[in-house]
Point group: C2
Chain length 412, copies 2
């Protein structure tokens, strides 16, 4: 079963907003066996919207439209949907009630401009939006389903999970599409591809493998489409895939490796901290996004200046004089110092040159030392990372996460 | 002048990759007067690619295709472009030379699979990619321009800046499109819209105003399209816009408010630090993304545990016993403690409940205290933020940045 997505909004085309909804919709619909065959972004413009909807409905039976439902004047989706379905408006009392509640909760005044959100096309069923002010809309005519959602990500997530997926499952007979994903770190796509040449050649037709590179991480996604669960052989091939590149696999599932590491640390009760110079707290920040992290993460230090490295982490000033702050001895001393300071079992330290300034012939932009320290061992590695400041920081954080697995035995 | 974008890749449709290239392309083309009228994401599939290209070329004269140029098997763009333009391959020696250089630099082995990247459709002009392995391609036939770029963001940025924009400027006569953007913090879209009702009514037809909300930030973008610079009246109206909502404007330009704040601190030499509990270093991390920040930012502390708040920041244990860690007195003590510790002029402290766990009736998820401290004053505010963990952290960081402006006079 296929679906298309249309996102409405000049802000997406002009590039002031990055569209994260579409990726989410692709994942969620994929999980119930609906694959997105096309995604179209168009303007806040009646004729563009009408044309794109008509084109999409000529190609496939499910269409999700996001955006263009806010309270302000540049939103015209609803008016256009009335035109498309040749219907007028109805005022939905359940939406009014909800608006009154939500505005009271947020301590904000309910304006006339907000009440307009309760006026919906007569042709639609209301999809109650518990987390926002604009309801979703479900149109089902001539065997075609059109779902209109607001553009705010948190509202899209809520409406998809609570309203749209259950209603699609109820309405349609869906085929089976299964994906299995794994994450590799610190190995180039072309080298992985070489190792997997035989594996890919031997793949049955119903299966496919995709490489999804991002910084020094490559996700591998194996997919199978089947008519019945009896046809599913994906797990067998996923096992073969894992076995073929076993040493390069960091974790299984479509997962941020930082989340995998945090979850492991929380589960095992392994306390950790970090002392970050060139990554400026980015590693700690990735790890602390996992709920419950406070049980193993007392805190951490960002130490840009040499003074802070010395006073807070106890780095010997002689190390900095002799080797410089961007050096293996300094990274090692930082990792030991911060672990002692916060009394944790594990620590990560980074020192390097993220750029764009501060590089030299001997110590160029992209040179990063990372140290990982536990009670029994300290591992330090030198990296030459490429890209701009943001990319060097991203790559450093992936490298650090990968290094922790060289020191601790973290299951897949 | 209008252009369309086609992004190729199952990973975009299935939702494993968020498409950040399109937003970038929208901005950059917009800056030279080319507006994106449509953006289509399609599969790694020959017939889908051929169909989408033909449709796009029937609608407009400029098409940018991204993705599908990597070294692995799931990339089929190049083959399809040969088919579309009815041509064969040519091997480009300049690309071979570049590949040899880049692989030697990265210390990686050049494989046959990589050399394939030098085989290009005969119909294209090569766009040299200095930062990656896949060159861009420029096709110009029957008054239609088709530009094919790899999907890796850093390579797209490079190719657009260095190759595509100059070549488009050279080839086309472009109209003028101007945008002026400003950023507001901590004011709801509907309230701004109410304040701007008269302003919007009085806007001449060539001008338009868009609201771009994101967390507790709303960007306002005023646009004008004109045939000559003489017709441009956008600056006059932008001044009126600023004057109308003066107290709510944080900064001018399409700018991250964190960048605006960092740049101000760097320029004025105002040293700062942070002590972050519930935001886990996210605020420092946003601020440190600005190059040169190390001159005013010695370092900072993430202090999840009460122990760290006491031992590192000198928070009186009695404060935590009496008021709890999530309280105004604790936030104030943290902000003073961290400022003293790092000897800075400014500090930001956060303590709150980001969730999803840890909330109670008295102290629910979303309750956050933020304190900003300087040598002469300390401001502390209580916030009730909504959303999930990530959103509460995002909103807290915007609130903290906004608070700094309540304490320091930061120009727009």
């Amino acid at each position: 079963m296929e679906a298309e997505i249309i996102t409405i909004g000049d802000e997406l085309l002009i590039g002031q907003t990055v569209d994260t909804n579409s990726a989410y919709l692709g994942q969620k619909l994929g999980s119930i066996g609906i694959s997105i065959s096309r995604k179209t972004a168009i303007r806040d413009n009646e004729s563009a919207i009408l044309q794109a909807i008509a084109e999409s409905q000529s190609r496939c039976n499910i269409l999700i439209v996001t955006g263009g439902l806010g309270p302000t004047k540049d939103d015209i989706t609803k008016k256009t949907l009335c035109k498309y379905f040749s219907c007028g408006y109805r005022r939905d009392d359940s939406v009014i009630e909800h608006l009154e509640k939500i505005f009271a909760q947020r301590g904000r005044q309910l304006l006339d401009i907000n009440l307009v959100q309760a006026d919906l096309p007569e042709a639609c069923v209301t999809l109650h939006n518990a987390v926002g002010t604009a309801p979703g809309m479900w149109f089902h005519q001539n065997n075609k389903i059109l779902i209109s959602l607001p553009g705010v990500p948190v509202e899209v997530y809520h409406l998809i999970e609570e309203r749209v997926l259950p209603k699609l499952r109820e309405t349609l007979e869906l085929p089976i599409v299964e994906h299995r994903t794994l994450v590799t770190l610190q190995k180039a796509e072309s080298l992985l591809s070489k190792d997997l040449e035989e594996f890919e050649k031997a793949l049955p037709k119903s299966l496919s493998l995709a490489y999804l590179p991002n910084f020094n991480m490559v996700k591998l996604r194996l997919s199978q489409k089947a008519n019945s669960t009896a046809e599913l052989i994906i797990d067998e091939y996923f096992e073969k895939l894992i076995a073929t590149i076993h040493n390069d696999v960091f974790c299984l599932g479509d997962k941020d490796p930082a989340t995998h590491l945090s979850e492991y640390l929380i589960q095992e009760g392994i306390t950790f901290t970090s002392a970050e110079s060139c990554t400026g707290g980015f590693i700690a920040n990735r790890l602390m996004q996992t709920p419950g992290i406070s049980s193993v993460f007392p805190g951490s230090i960002v130490c840009y200046s040499n003074d802070v490295k010395i006073s807070e982490l106890g780095v010997d000033p002689a190390i900095i004089t002799e080797f410089g702050a961007v050096s293996e001895p300094c990274a090692v001393a930082m990792s030991k110092g911060v672990r002692a300071k916060f009394n944790t079992q594990l620590s990560i330290a980074t020192t390097g040159i993220a750029g764009p300034d501060g590089g030299s012939k001997e110590k160029p932009v992209g040179l990063v030392y990372i140290a990982v320290s536990t009670e029994t061992q300290t591992l330090c590695k030198k990296f030459r990372l490429f890209g701009n400041r943001e990319q060097i920081i991203q790559r450093s954080s992936n490298a650090a996460i990968w290094m922790v697995k060289q020191v601790l035995t973290i299951p897949l």
